[in-house]
């Protein structure tokens, strides 16, 4: 009977030590899990926001690219028109005859190369 306290103490000590360790570990675990969860949540939402920003960014880029495409197509058409205008026979003939002093060959002067 002199030992019950001791024993009890002992027991409690043992028990306390054990439970403290246990609860501490559990708390740590819980904290870890919670922390991870929070982190992943934050990370996830950050990622989500980032991806949305990216989508919007690309949206702007696409819309600019489309505008550019239209402008370039128009420029291309304009240039093609210019080529067609420059290729006009009337103009070429004028340059050939007036500036370059070329003359049309007589039938006998033509040699055909096949």
């Amino acid at each position: 009977m002199a030992n019950p306290r001791e024993r009890g103490e002992d027991r409690i000590l043992w028990m306390e030590k054990d439970s403290r360790e246990k609860s501490a570990g559990r708390k740590l675990n819980l904290l870890l899990v919670f922390g991870l969860l929070l982190l992943s949540l934050i990370g996830g939402s950050l990622f989500y926001v980032w991806s949305r920003i990216q989508v919007i960014q690309y949206g702007y880029e696409i819309s600019n690219a489309l505008k550019e495409e239209r402008a370039l197509t128009e420029t291309n058409k304009r240039l093609r028109l210019e080529v067609a205008t420059l290729k006009s026979y009337e103009r070429i003939e004028k340059i050939a005859v007036e500036e370059l002093k070329m003359i049309k060959p007589k039938p006998g002067q033509v040699i055909v190369i096949r």
């Binding site: 949206g59 702007y60 696409i62 505008k67 058409k77 093609r80 026979y89 055909v112 190369i113 096949r114």
Partner: protein, 655 residues
């Protein structure tokens, strides 16, 4: 006491509950109002903010020639408009605009003062003008994109192509005929916008939106058209004529390769020309064909075997009276064979031949050749010509129609009918549109040559061709139509024009024409040339025949039909020139007997033309490779070669 003790706490709770409930009801009501009652309107308002609408100007297809050279192209240009209410300084704005656009400031001021909320200032301005106006940043002045049609070759083939009005609507020619196909549909490009109004693509973009406009590829060939126009305009100017027309057709297929009407107009500024210059004379003008028509008389009588080319007729020494009419020849003739009648173009002879075939049979052939009905070649404004039924012919009509008086035809009808003769008697439907392609250039519809009917037998066609060939030989009316190195067949025509004021035929106003085809053995082109009221001379053989010759001379080499005597040399780019000393091992080459030897000249450094003309005529077989100047020759200079030996020339351009 009991009654007086009011539980204020409860009352407050009830009051606040009521208040909250009331608020709730109000919110609910507002929600109902916004989400249900005003839904449509708000959606629209939101869409207006969230979506940018860019109206895409409807595109218009391109018109190409048969080698896909652009003849009509649309590009986007700016149109300037004003919102008069937003303009700050009307006078200053008007002056600035007028100085850039080079117009009357008064006119613009009127427009800017208008009470309307939208007013065009100037449509379709040049890019330079637009940039200048944009740089000034004038308040209330804005731009809209519109399509403008450009014709890069200015007047080339303008009558066939036609033109479009300010609203991209075809008004003439192909532009009118194929207006619905050429024009795309109006699209609106919806794009989401952010709060700043910048465009942003979040969903599917406006990709693969088809426009459904079509491109048109014509049978007209830019080169042939150019040649035809140049020659025609030169002749019209030379003879001081009122106008003219020319058609070039491919007889085998019915393709119209060129179609020109003079005076020309520039479709880029069609408003600066008189409407009568817009008229496509080749299909819209009817005229009496004159002696050209004897061709079809010949076809009819030979096909019916009533008359042979060698049969003789008495030509009454130039004056022949029948009923109330007297028919004259330009020279006095006695007895002529039918062939000679065609050759010298005797009207009296022709009417005597016509008397043999009779009205009804002749009329049947006229119908067969297509006179009196539209050829339906696919251009608007085609005339039918005037061919009455024989029932209504006056007694002398048969005689006069035989030489092309008392009947009216169009240029295209004559070209088609002559093509039938050139094509072994088979009449082909003429056409100007080769194919229709979609916006990517892939063919949707291709038009094939369409055979209409066999008008005369092949045998007859050969006989007629022989007659027409004789008419262009020495002593014939069409002598001046023959180009050097080719054989052709054709017929001249000179018709007095009907005097619309005095009635009857005019003494001094003529239509002079020539129609023919070349080369005679295998006709590649049929050409018709008609000049309206030439001065100085009126004979088709003098006025129109040289135009025919000039056109044929330039067009046939382009179609790889070369005049006789042309030196044709083979370019053996692929086969390397053999090395020194090695004799060419070609079996066909026979070594001469040593009697005809020539000394090989030094050709190094000469141009191809000079080199070839130096060794031409020495009996050598010439083979060339490359371009430019001679850099190597085999056999070497000074070597003795025999006739029939192969001579290799290697050319290289100095660059």
């Amino acid at each position: 006491m009991k009654k007086k003790s009011i539980n204020w706490f409860k009352v407050r709770i009830i009051l606040i509950s009521c208040l909250l409930f009331f608020c709730f009801i109000v919110i609910l009501g507002r929600m109902f109002q916004l989400q249900v009652l005003k839904k449509e309107k708000l959606y629209k308002l939101a869409a207006q903010q969230q979506y940018g609408q860019i109206p895409l100007v409807p595109k218009r297809g391109i018109i190409y020639d048969r080698n896909e050279n652009e003849l009509a192209v649309s590009i986007e240009v700016d149109s300037v408009y004003a919102e008069p209410k937003k303009i700050v300084e009307v006078g200053k704005t008007a002056n600035e605009l007028a100085s850039i656009l080079q117009t009357d400031p008064k006119e613009i001021r009127e427009k800017l003062k208008s009470a309307k909320s939208f007013e065009w200032v100037q449509r379709k301005v040049s890019p330079k003008e637009a940039d200048e106006i944009k740089a000034r940043r004038l308040p209330g002045i804005h731009f809209l994109k519109e399509n403008k049609r450009f014709y890069p070759n200015s007047h080339l083939a303008a009558h066939a192509i036609g033109f479009v009005g300010l609203d991209s609507k075809g008004l003439e020619g192909i532009e009118l005929q194929y207006d619905a196909l050429l024009n795309g549909k109006q699209h609106i490009w919806m794009m989401e916008r952010d709060a700043m109004g910048r465009g942003i693509v979040l969903n599917e973009g406006p990709f693969e939106k088809e426009d459904h406009h079509r491109n048109i590829v014509l049978t007209i060939d830019k080169h042939i058209q150019h040649v035809t126009e140049v020659e025609l305009s030169q002749a019209v100017q030379k003879w001081g004529a009122k106008g003219g027309m020319a058609i070039v057709m491919e007889p085998k297929t019915g393709k119209v390769l060129a179609m020109a009407s003079y005076p020309f107009f520039n479709p880029n500024q069609f408003l600066e020309y008189r409407p009568r210059s817009w008229r496509n004379r080749a299909i819209s003008d009817v005229f009496e064909p004159g002696s050209m028509f004897k061709t079809f008389l010949a076809a009819a009588v030979l096909d019916e075997r009533i008359v042979q080319s060698s049969d003789s007729f008495y030509c009454e020494n130039g004056t022949y009276t029948i009923y109330d009419r007297t028919i004259h020849d330009h020279s006095k003739y006695g007895w002529l064979t039918f062939q000679q009648i065609i050759k010298v173009s005797s009207n009296i002879g022709a009417s005597k031949v016509a008397e043999k075939i009779g009205k009804d049979r002749f009329y049947r052939y006229l119908g067969g050749f297509g006179f009196g009905e539209r050829t339906r070649l696919g251009l608007p404004g085609e005339a039918r010509g005037i061919v009455h039924h024989p029932r209504y012919w006056s007694p002398v009509a048969l005689d006069t129609i035989s030489f092309g008086q008392g009947i009216s035809v169009t240029g295209i009808q004559l070209a088609v009918a002559l093509s039938a003769i050139a094509n072994g008697g088979i009449k082909m439907k003429p056409y100007v549109v080769e194919k229709i392609t979609d916006e990517k250039g892939e063919g949707i519809q291709t038009f094939q040559p369409e055979r209409v009917k066999q008008v005369i037998s092949e045998e007859t066609s050969k006989k007629v061709i022989a007659l027409l060939k004789a008419a262009t030989e020495k002593g014939g009316t069409g002598e001046q139509a023959v180009p050097q190195g080719y054989e052709i067949a054709g017929k001249t025509g000179t018709a007095q024009k009907v005097d619309t004021i005095l009635g009857g035929y005019s003494e001094d106003r003529y239509m002079s024409g020539f129609m023919g085809f070349a080369p005679v053995e295998e006709p590649r082109i049929v050409v018709l040339v008609v000049l309206d009221e030439p001065r100085g001379s009126n004979y088709g053989g003098v006025v129109a025949a040289p135009v025919f010759r000039a056109i044929v001379e330039k067009v046939l080499p382009y179609l790889n039909v070369f005049p006789k005597g042309t030196l044709v040399v083979k370019n053996e780019m692929e086969t390397p020139v053999r090395g020194e000393g090695s004799t060419p091992l070609i079996e066909e080459v026979r070594v001469g007997r040593g009697s005809q030897r020539v000394v090989m000249p030094d050709l190094t450094g000469l141009s191809m033309r000079n080199a070839l003309s130096r060794i031409e005529g020495r009996g050598l077989i010439i083979k060339v490779s490359g371009n430019g100047k001679v850099v190597d020759q085999n056999p070497k200079a000074g070597a003795v070669v025999e006739k029939g030996e192969i001579c290799y020339l290697k050319f290289e351009s100095p660059s």
